[in-house]
């Protein structure tokens, strides 16, 4: 119960008493983090599945909605996030080498790239706001959107069909904002984790024996990157050539 800790062997301060070794402790932490990330993957996976099913049901509306979002901004954001994954991987490597200053530099770089991502996302959201594409009670209450006009003029839809398809794009935008919003929320949690890692690194505690918090923070950050790797093609790309037949 309250026996004092064994003093026969050197005891690393980070090693919890229920583990035999730091290596076993790290393996357990990695497994636990992956178990958590898999539940996250199933949550986003449910949204992906729902998106694909609704895309079949309201195909023309999803094509119209998808071609209305800014593909260049989405692609640049993909590159920014991939860059942040690289700096995160290098941060973990620095932690493993015990290079605390390099670690802090790469964590700050990761956060800055994440900030650029959210800034670009904000520009995209603002664009949708200006175009009256935000789903909700006032959707379609500001007169015909540019989408409805394009459907008539470029796709040669009848006014009635164009109005109906334009109305259904609200479902696409529900998915767009739910999925990118949930993703952006995960980025904010990522910032919290990065701040925590910066705080932890003050004590120069990370080194070859122990850098598990940085490794787990990295897993989380890369997971958020993976979600975006799928969001980008699904939301921005796969419908690009399908309009204006």
């Amino acid at each position: 119960m309250s026996h004092s800790q064994t003093t026969t062997t050197e005891h690393h301060p980070a090693l919890a008493h229920q583990f035999d070794s730091l290596e076993q402790q790290k393996d357990a932490s990695m497994l636990g983090m992956w178990a958590f990330l898999l539940t996250e993957i199933m949550m986003f996976g449910g949204l992906f599945a729902a998106y694909l099913i609704y895309r079949l049901r309201y195909y023309e509306a999803f094509v119209a909605g998808s071609t209305s979002i800014a593909v260049t901004l989405g692609a640049v954001n993909t590159l920014v996030l991939i860059g942040s994954s690289l700096t995160m991987a290098l941060a973990v490597s620095a932690a493993q080498r015990g290079a605390q200053k390099v670690l802090r530099g790469f964590i700050v770089a990761t956060m800055l790239l994440g900030l650029v991502f959210l800034g670009i996302k904000a520009v995209e959201y603002h664009e949708k706001y200006v175009e009256h594409h935000i789903p909700g009670g006032v959707f379609g209450k500001f007169g015909p959107t540019d989408i409805e006009k394009d459907l008539q003029e470029k796709d040669h839809k009848t006014p009635e069909a164009a109005a109906q398809i334009a109305r259904q794009t609200e479902i696409f935008f529900c998915f767009y904002f739910a999925m990118t919003g949930l993703h952006a929320f995960h980025m904010l949690i990522g910032f919290g984790l990065m701040t925590w890692l910066l705080w932890l690194s003050r004590g120069n505690r990370f080194g070859p024996d122990y850098y598990t918090p940085v490794e787990l923070g990295g897993l989380y950050w890369h997971f958020v990157d993976i979600v975006w790797i799928f969001l980008f093609p699904l939301l921005y790309l796969i419908s690009r050539t399908q309009g204006a037949h």
């Binding site: 990695m30 497994l31 694909l52 099913i53 079949l56 991939i82 790797i229 699904l234 790309l237 399908q242």
Partner: protein, 101 residues
């Protein structure tokens, strides 16, 4: 070559190579999106996305260098995700084809 433990991370060269592959994949999927491949547009886009995700998981997330228990857990999770999406879509895709005509 980790046998069971979590020793050994990739070198920085591996990280930069993976980063380069991810950038190329992104540019490729971006460019191909504007080429009309008909039904193959989503397939190509998702194939590239799966390749990119696999690279991130294996190298950035160190699964390639993790314990076998971690590997099998990750694989099981993604298998379950594939079940969710493929079984749901095989239902809805076939319904749409019959009811839509």
């Amino acid at each position: 070559m980790a046998q069971n433990g979590s020793h050994g991370h990739p070198t920085h060269g591996v990280y930069y190579a993976v980063f380069g592959a991810l950038v190329i994949g992104t540019l490729l999927t971006w460019g191909v999106a504007f080429v009309d491949l008909g039904i193959f547009n989503p397939i190509v886009a998702l194939a590239i996305a799966c390749t990119k995700a696999t690279l991130v998981i294996l190298f950035f997330m160190h699964v390639r260098y993790s314990s076998k228990l971690t590997m099998i857990t990750v694989a099981a999770g993604f298998f379950w995700l594939m079940l969710l999406i493929s079984l749901s879509l095989s239902d809805y895709l076939t319904r749409t084809l019959t009811l839509g005509q």
